[in-house]
Subunit: 239 residues, 2 copies
């Protein structure tokens, strides 16, 4: 019998790839967090489509709700009066898209679920290397949280945090997703829009660069004209 794993899935490309890794060896319990993010409608659609794609039974699919991150605010992902930056990623500062300790909250929720169902692993798609510089996406944070998880759960609970893409570049994430035949076309990364991706927020920029570096065209629809590499083809999971 496969061991149970909780997979934290936002619906973006990174968490999709983490999910694809988890699917190789685990009985999947998927969780998505509705924290009042402005693009939650689209994110949740992606999440539910991914759950269907991976044939996860309905009773193993969780959408959790918390209001703390929206109430504390300070991020353009939860407060529509704060503009989403569109001028490009600055590797030296933490951008205003940072949601305070969001991943701490998500891992705490995942730990509760994992302990309750007896899962031995928690997967998430945190990316440190090629990211917006959020402190709670770093490997050193995950290692510290692992310690807290061990000390804060029952002695019998052996839960391991597994971050398969944390040290990958976006290109490597896409390469891994392709190798694992992950349905990239179902994922959603844009911080701002829900119909056509804006193409200029940090998340879109990182994603577009990843596909370009791979010599591919992202199947996601963009509002702006993206300068894809010459001769590139649209990535299609079905081929």
């Amino acid at each position: 019998m496969k061991k149970k794993a909780v997979v934290c899935v936002s619906g973006g490309m990174d968490s999709l790839t983490a999910l694809a890794f988890a699917s190789l060896e685990h009985d999947l319990y998927l969780m998505h967090v509705d924290y009042g993010q402005l693009t939650e409608g689209k994110e949740r659609d992606s999440f539910l489509q991914l759950a269907e794609h991976f044939k996860v039974p309905k009773e193993q699919v969780y959408v959790f709700q918390t209001d703390v991150l929206q109430k504390v605010g300070t991020s353009c992902l939860t407060d529509k009066s704060i503009e989403v930056p569109k001028t490009g990623v600055n590797p030296d500062t933490i951008p205003v898209s940072y949601v305070p300790f969001r991943n701490g909250n998500i891992l705490a929720m995942a730990t509760s679920l994992a302990e309750a169902i007896g899962a031995t692993a928690i997967y998430a798609g945190f990316v440190e290397e090629d990211s917006s510089g959020y402190p709670d996406c770093r490997e050193i944070f995950v290692a510290a949280f692992q310690r807290a998880l061990v000390e804060g759960t029952k002695p019998g609970a052996h839960i391991e945090l597994i971050m398969p893409v944390i040290q990958m570049s976006k290109m490597e994430v896409i390469k891994a997703a392709i190798t694992l035949q992950a349905p990239i076309h179902l994922s959603w990364s844009c911080y701002e829009a829900e119909e056509l991706a804006c193409g200029v927020c940090d998340s879109c920029r990182l994603r577009i660069r990843g596909f370009s570096d791979m010599g591919l065209i992202d199947p996601a629809p963009y509002k702006v004209n993206v300068a894809w590499p010459k001769g590139a083809e649209v990535y299609d999971v079905s081929r």
Copy 2:
């Protein structure tokens, strides 16, 4: 100007005492978590009365909601089909009142709030010594979470977890509360009831023993006849 502190307040005696300690030197930001606990109505009343007693401005009083702990279940505090144990505290096992990694979730929320408002401290009333044996009430867990908090927040955020009662016995908690003139009569500890405390759940038993050890009668109303020490008087904060 006083430094800001986030205080996690359930409404029980331990968190009240932690709050009384915090009030000595901090500008208070109070948070209470509604996680679907069965006694939330009474707990929230206590919380709001404590906020009023300590004269905390309304905009610094937060009630957060999360559905994860109720959805994962397994505890008699969140699932009414699970009976609240009434036969006494067994120090060798983790009781069914344990809510999986609840305090991990609460500290994660507190961290988000503290980081967003620029608080330098988080207070909570976790008790390790004289408790029901929950893993996430232990000092070793708090120390590990402190590390995760440092690594998972912005470099400029210096937030310290302060647990003033963690190594106290219940009697010591009550002694401290009395010394600090904390309004014990506003607190609520019972796991089961909201009108008259049951007097026989683990939480009531610990509280009753604390008062008895102090030679005092708890001002809380009990459903059962409690064998208070001979000649004991009801504790009254106003005297």
